[in-house]
């Protein structure tokens, strides 16, 4: 909103100046002017005897919200397969459908995916919009963003969800800018407010210490990225009723990014997807002791994490770092070994379902978030634990 003064009607009666609660109106060069104190409360508009003050008309063309229908989720693929997070997004969509009763559509880009997306229909998707094209073989933000924006503009969905993976977080923000709508990041819960029919999006900030509820009232679609591992993957359903709709790229894509090489990161089971993470910190004393951590992780079928101290000491590579400047993880079990639990580390792991901490300092802050705090020397406890697990024949 903006205030507009029609000077031809104003007779400088000063009524507005006297009544403005904020001292925001003054006379300059024989004219009423509104200064920086204005809070747009609108009182002056109401009281002006000459009707010389008006609300400037908003030029935003109000969109017809009822035109927008459908719950969409982006189907992320990985090495040509449907990524497990995509089934989680389907579960999230199904949760919304219970209250919203709009159809669930998956959006999928890639090659040779027709059979694979059938799995989504079996699990409850009503439609899959599929674009098969060689240009999707490499993930490039501009190509993915433009294609998704194209479909959004064509079919006008009410809600668009995507996983808050590195891929989702990379390209979804530019989709939201292209279609000029809001985007809520990293949600840990979503729901429908039944009265208003709005998407209620809950997300953590400040490393999980502050939770916020966010809505997107006047813009469509309502878009959100959702953290992996919040929703379980969708199960198959009995009464399935879905179709695959093939779309084509019939627009120009100006692709300036050139991917000239890829290097796999050794030993990294995707930390954000791992159900179990065994992490090591400064308490490991030297890099080669990460072998114990790796061994335990292997036995449990988990991934290896690390504190910043361990990464900064050069004991393990950065992609393993958990915490504020590393990854935020939420596994079923997090085992912290020799990690003091600085607030920056806690920020990245404290929402794990179950935390086991091994530290020889009984006052280490890590114990504040641990479900099971083990006060002891990791070099004594871990080898015994490993032996015991092996005796049982492992996992």
């Amino acid at each position: 909103m903006k205030i507009k003064i029609y000077y031809e009607r104003c007779n400088l009666c000063k009524e507005c100046i006297n009544k403005c609660p904020f001292g925001a109106i003054e006379i300059k060069e024989n004219r009423i002017v509104i200064n920086d104190n204005c809070t747009l409360c609108g009182l002056c508009i109401k009281i002006c005897p000459q009707k010389a003050i008006e609300k400037e008309k908003e030029e935003i063309k109000e969109i017809d919200l009822s035109e927008y229908k459908g719950i969409w989720f982006f189907v992320e693929t990985k090495n040509g397969e449907i990524a497990s997070v995509s089934y989680e997004m389907l579960t999230a969509s199904k949760k919304l459908k219970k209250k919203l009763n709009e159809e669930i559509c998956g959006i999928c880009f890639g090659k040779n995916l027709k059979d694979k997306v059938n799995g989504l229909i079996k699990r409850g998707a009503n439609k899959i919009y599929l674009i098969e094209d060689d240009i999707f073989c490499e993930f490039k933000e501009e190509i993915y963003a433009k294609s998704l924006a194209y479909l959004i503009e064509k079919y006008k969905p009410n809600i668009v969800l995507a996983a808050a993976t590195m891929l989702g977080r990379s390209f979804i923000p530019s989709v939201a800018v292209k279609v000029k709508t809001g985007l809520t990041a990293d949600c840990t819960d979503i729901d429908i407010d039944e009265k208003a029919g709005l998407l209620i999006q809950t997300r953590p900030t400040f490393g999980g210490n502050l939770m916020a509820k966010i809505i997107c009232e006047r813009h469509r679609p309502q878009m959100a990225t959702i953290r992996p591992k919040i929703f379980d993957p969708a199960n198959e359903e009995e009464n399935i009723n879905g179709e695959i709709i093939e779309e084509k790229i019939n627009f120009k894509i100006d692709d300036k990014i050139n991917i000239c090489g890829k290097e796999k990161i050794e030993n990294i089971v995707d930390l954000q997807e791992a159900e179990i993470i065994v992490s090591g910190g400064r308490g490991l004393k030297e890099g080669k002791n990460f072998e114990i951590i790796q061994e335990l992780a292997n036995l449990l079928g988990g991934a290896v994490g690390a504190s910043r101290a361990a990464v900064d000491s050069g004991w393990i590579e950065y992609p393993h770092q958990v915490g504020q400047t590393g990854k935020t993880v939420k596994p079923k079990i997090y085992i912290a070994c020799g990690i003091s639990g600085a607030i920056q580390h806690l920020a990245g792991m404290q929402t794990s379902d179950y935390i086991i901490a091994i530290n020889k300092d009984p006052d280490a802050p890590i114990f504040k978030v641990a479900n099971l705090g083990v006060v002891g020397d990791l070099f004594e406890v871990l080898p015994i634990l490993i032996k015991k697990i092996k005796e049982q024949g492992g996992k």
């Binding site: 933000e141 292209k178 985007l183 939770m211 916020a212 002891g376």
Partner: protein
Amino acid sequence: MKIIVCIKQVPEGVDVKVDPITKRIIREGVKSIINPYDLYAIEEGIRLKERFGGQTWVISMGPLQAESAIREAIGMGIDNGILLSDKKFAGSDTLATSYTLSLGIKKIGDFDIIICGRETLDGSTGQVGPGIAEHLGVPYITYVSKIVDIRENEIECIRLMEDHYEIIKTKLPVLMTVIKEINEPRIPSLKNMLRAKKIEIPIWNAEQLEGNDQFFGQDGSPTKVIDVWTQTIKKDGRKIEGDPEVLAEEILKELKKLGVL
């Protein structure tokens, strides 16, 4: 070469408090710092200048006090700073923030590289970098871990994805968001701090940015925070001490209970 670094001032630490009645984040008594990720962005900007020549800028949108963050960046070695500040910018979400910053960047003009942090400590959306690029219509690369080279207007860099690194080449101009792995931020030098103290930092308001008012601040923000609350993550955990053999046995029992073994 012209390098523009986007920085945000944030409250220090993640231990926030919320006023139970007004639902506002309590900022009094909390020190403001440069968003930790943005230190890597600043450092990389300075290093690019050292390697390839040119000039460096920092730009920030925020209240007047954000000027101190800009001075700090100049203390580290950045050449110039701009603050975008106007009551009209208040209440911006990432769409409005990236719009406003893109106007500021356009006004600085002729940029080759824009560097943003990976995400912020407070909002932590990571959406502003890609948003700016989209508004400006330049390509962008997220999660950059290394800038290999810049030659004949082409940049080669390495970016991190979930389980691999990618080597990427693209023509300038480009926007990138950087991760911690890229460098180790320097401490401000005495000489630069003196310069930072004296330098004039222009403040640009909505009018000077010549944008469309309806896209600034709250009006231009589709998302609305309707509730905030703090979450104390206090586990009703138990602590055990004693013989390593017994401790290991306890962990084993727990893992079995959790269904892992």
